[in-house]
Amino acid sequence: MKVYHGKAVFHGIAIGQIQILKKEEKNVFRSHIDNVEQEITRMERAVSETEEQLKKLYDKALLEVGESGAAIFEVHQMMLQDQDYQESILNIIRTQQVNAEYAVAVTADNFANMFAMMDDAYMKERAADVKDISERLISVLSQEDKEEVQTDMPTIIVAEDLSPSETVQMDKSKVRSFVTRYGSSNSHTAILARTMNVPALIGLAYDEDIDGMTAVVDGFKGELIVDPDPEVLAEYEKKAAQEEEKRQLLQELKGKETVTLGGKEIRLYANIGGISDLQSVMQNDAAGIGLFRSEFLYLEKEDYPTEDEQFKVYRSVAETMAGKKVIIRTLDIGADKQIDYFKLEREDNPAMGYRAIRICLTRIDIFKTQLRALYRASAYGNIGIMFPMIISVREVKRIKEIVEEVKKELTDNGIAYGEVELGIMIETPAAVMISRQLAEEVDFFSIGTNDLTQYTLAIDRQNAKLDDFYDAHHPAILNMIQMVIENGHKGGAWVGICGELGADLELTDQFIEMGIDELSVSPSCILPIRKKIREHV
């Protein structure tokens, strides 16, 4: 047994046979050509066939890894069509009277060198793209198919690094894990592993003699265990079986509707705290985003994020979700979250202090910047905005006035925006008690059960001494939820839950009976809840 350490880029357990992928060095021979025009025609045909291949790869990658992962194949098409690249190849064929393969190989070297000599780490890596398209072109010219990885037993793919073409073309039905010596958490390998839901390790210095051996990939510890001892293997087989069970559930429920047996559809959305969560939102097949915490935009910065910075993030989320609902909560910070540049004073009781909408309604400039960014992004997808910590109708009316001002400014400046649903968080007992009036003002409610429970029970969740007094299913909370749903519906607002309680499987049936319209939970909870809802009579 030998254990290698790497960095896990996707969790999970895999057991299989190691297959080391070796890059075959293609030897391209230089040969003299008599009929130059014929060679050029052959070259032009190969270019269009290669382009076809790249288009197919783009479509395949689009399905498997999404638009951002597939875009590289579009760039490859542009590189292939690049005039300088093509002219260089044709010139070499013409002036040296040589075969097209050789002309491509020389051109590839020249262009790759140009990148390799740049003093920019990222650009240096682009040399690989030039080589990738050139190899493909040479394969087409020499009528060879690029070798596909074929296996008939569970396999752990081990390689120096994997190119986009290699990863997309691979027959993935038997691949259980990827291990590479190089690569980064944003490399193609990592993206593919996440999408396929298989563990992957990078930065792992393996020995060549492990090819063909049985091994375990522990994607939690970042270990590759080659030729494991029987008891270690047995233990991992058990773990892998548990993981597999989870995966089965995922596969079975993916793409299915979230509808009860009685035919009621519940919108099952995801809570996210940043762009990096989007991958798991897609993976777990959420119908939308019910709570996008915008705080990270502020927490990551040294100064207030600009409108453009925010706009870019909101737009990319809206675009990634492609028409599915994306509900973004406006800034929700207070003295308990330190952001230096806000210069918030220390408070004795920050939970009930100067925070969230209270900051926004007194520092309108910060609020307007966020709203403008949100409205601009609404032209690119289906955006909803919700406001935290509401206690009065007056606040909501004031918010709506500011929203109208923002919309007018945008219209006056000729900037496009879309239809935006406006909603509020119901997380104070006050908001519950006046939910009938609030419902007249907004499109939706989202019940924030964490704060609502804390404010209603007067229990600080951070205080362990109070655990005995705390009851997550306290009837007061459940009655409040019932009341909010009824009042919301009377006033024409749909009602969802975005707090922890929303993911509580013991309460799912009850929430459905209460008439809940939406549940927004962390991505990993989506599929188990979907299962529960689908079983609801």
């Binding site: 760039v75 542009m78 690049d82 140009m114 990222y122 793209d129």
Partner: protein, 85 residues
Amino acid sequence: MVKFTFTVKDEVGLHARPAGLLVKEAAKCSSKVTIRKGDKTGDAKRIFNIMGLAIKCGEEVEMMVEGDKEQEEAAALEAFVTENI
């Protein structure tokens, strides 16, 4: 000829994907579109040309649009790069 300048905001600079976006947009123009960084210039319709300039985040580049429809095409390009690049 119409000229305008812009600053690249993408974190890793004008690398493969943003360069691809720019090529796609420039290809729509009937004008000749040239991109200049310092004393180096490139044809904005050619991806290797753009990538060869190794433009990094925060660097300012100049675009030169020359042709019959240079006015409107420059305006469209400027709007596009401010938004996307």
